[in-house]
Symmetry: C2
Subunit: 329 residues, 2 copies
């Protein structure tokens, strides 16, 4: 029970305080290697740790022919290890069409909604999902390239709300070795090798080229950097939230800041203050790095006003004023 892999996962659980003593955990099970290994590792650790597995949860997304095969695999796997399983069924295509979003985004929304629902119904405290160091590295690179606004760099969170990621510090390769040693099969996701998908291209091509360039493993270093950057950013966000309470005045003119007070803050804080202010007045529109930069440029003088997504920003005497626009819809 106490392999190096088990110890590693246990450290991640402790280090990020993924759950309190006595917690009941729902384990998200797709049938892939990561979630099958997660289930077995948590079951082993639960024997001696101060937590228990409330249920496994599998969502049949009905998007591909293999979906029913995956469901059957998960049911028989749960049976073989004597754990209860809740199986749901998704309307991913409908969700995507209704909201006008990508199938990938729709699948994620539907999946987390299902998991939260299972958590609720089983009276559990946490939902464990199988993201690994590999996912961490890939997500980090994707976020870097896509800009991710003025903050939000740093990959996947070990914990967000009730969702926890105990495998975030271990590699997919080590999980597959663990499963092979136990002669435990898993199902392969057919879409994993579709190189039209950005994440798959990063996984199979970009990371391999990065490793060829630097002559060493790229994923652990990237995942570690992602973790450090996320930790830095989270604390800076907290500090900025406190400063926001102190510096932002919600008046009948709009949201106001003293220009000198904003300029007196260090750049990482003033940048986040402006981002937060814009978000609070943009009527849900996306705010990016370039908008924050434009407002910071405004602080040093010209021009006197700016039209940004959902919001107008003006310099009035020594005050910066954000005015939310009336939505034309």
């Amino acid at each position: 029970v106490t392999s190096a892999l088990h110890q590693h996962v246990r450290r991640t659980i402790l280090r990020h305080r993924l759950w309190p003593a006595g917690a009941r955990v729902v384990v998200a099970l797709s049938g892939g290697s990561d979630s099958v290994a997660l289930t077995l590792l948590l079951r082993d650790l639960a024997e001696h740790g101060a937590f228990s597995i409330a249920a496994l949860a599998h969502l049949n997304h009905r998007l591909r022919a293999s979906a029913d095969r995956d469901e059957a695999f998960c049911r028989s796997f749960a049976d073989s290890i004597d754990l209860p399983i809740v199986v749901g069924s998704a309307e991913v295509l409908v969700e995507a069409q209704t909201l006008g979003i990508s199938l990938e985004d729709a699948a994620r929304r539907v999946r987390y909604r299902f998991l939260e629902d299972v958590c609720e119904k089983t009276g559990a405290d946490r939902i464990a999902v199988g993201h690994t160091e590999d996912d961490q590295a890939e997500t980090f690179l994707l976020k870097l390239i896509r800009g991710a606004g003025a903050t939000g760099l740093g990959g996947v969170y070990p914990r967000r709300g009730r969702v926890v990621r105990p495998l975030l510090d271990v590699s997919r390769a080590s999980l597959r070795r663990f499963l092979k040693d136990r002669r435990q099969p898993w199902v392969e996701d057919d879409t994993n090798h579709d190189l039209d998908n950005p994440r798959n291209r990063i996984r199979h091509v970009v990371l391999a080229e990065l490793e060829r360039a630097t002559g060493g493993p790229a994923r652990p270093a990237l995942a570690r950097a992602a973790g450090l950057i996320r930790e830095d950013g989270q604390w800076l966000d907290q500090v900025s939230d406190q400063r926001f309470q102190a510096l932002a005045a919600d008046t009948q003119n709009g949201l106001e800041f003293e220009v000198d007070a904003l300029l007196a803050e260090p750049a990482p804080i003033s940048r986040r203050l402006v981002l937060r202010a814009l978000r609070s007045r943009s009527g849900g529109r996306e705010v990016g790095f370039e908008h924050v930069e434009a407002v910071i440029g405004l602080l040093s003088g010209s021009p006197a006003g700016l039209d940004l997504p959902g919001c107008r920003v003006e310099l009035r005497r020594r005050k910066l004023v954000l005015i939310q626009k009336v939505d034309p819809k």
Copy 2:
């Protein structure tokens, strides 16, 4: 004179306060597109800006046959635009052998020593070097993969000491377009396409694959992320320096911290405090992320002591004590 490119460079100079009014600037000139464009752009901006060019500075590194061709090009370029040039000559190979470092590292040391020397002798205030957004993106990726210790992520600094980088927000492609428009030639670095060099592989292969994966330009997003992460890190380093003064006690036992005081700091600060403490007691040995992690693990109990590079760390009652080892050399 006031092209978008000029404006962009002027904004970088102002935004990062690269020099004070009236500054005299030495421009590092290799003869490549970046440094030739840097020279012309700064010469244009100096006409209306509050600074002047003290001299151009070219180092003949004598490493390749093309070095003399590059020197001749730089002399005639300086002549054509009527600016003084100081040419130096390097002993890069000797430097590399004496210090047991790579040719690349030796070339960088020799180059900056020469530039500081020219700055001194011409009574100048700053040294402008031609790093671009492209260099920023490449350096950032290299640092990410190589780990860069517990801090130090975030690419190239706009200013460090007297060295400034006015081109850090513009792309190499835009500089080459500018030179072509002016019919201004430059010399090509023959080693630029050697794919055994990690930086060249990142430049020509990895970034191209990243762009194929995400379907958009990778360099600007990476450079921007690098700038934000560097800015965050610099301020966190400053905050940590202040906390270090408040929390570290230099006693006859060694460098001491109250464990509870360290644990009360947020993770980004405690991590930097430990890194700084280890560096101050490692006798110049390299301290990495894994050493910081080990000490932070020590804080939560076991084991009671750790042997790290050049330094032993012990938990004595509620104090963390760092003791520098006597160098066996």
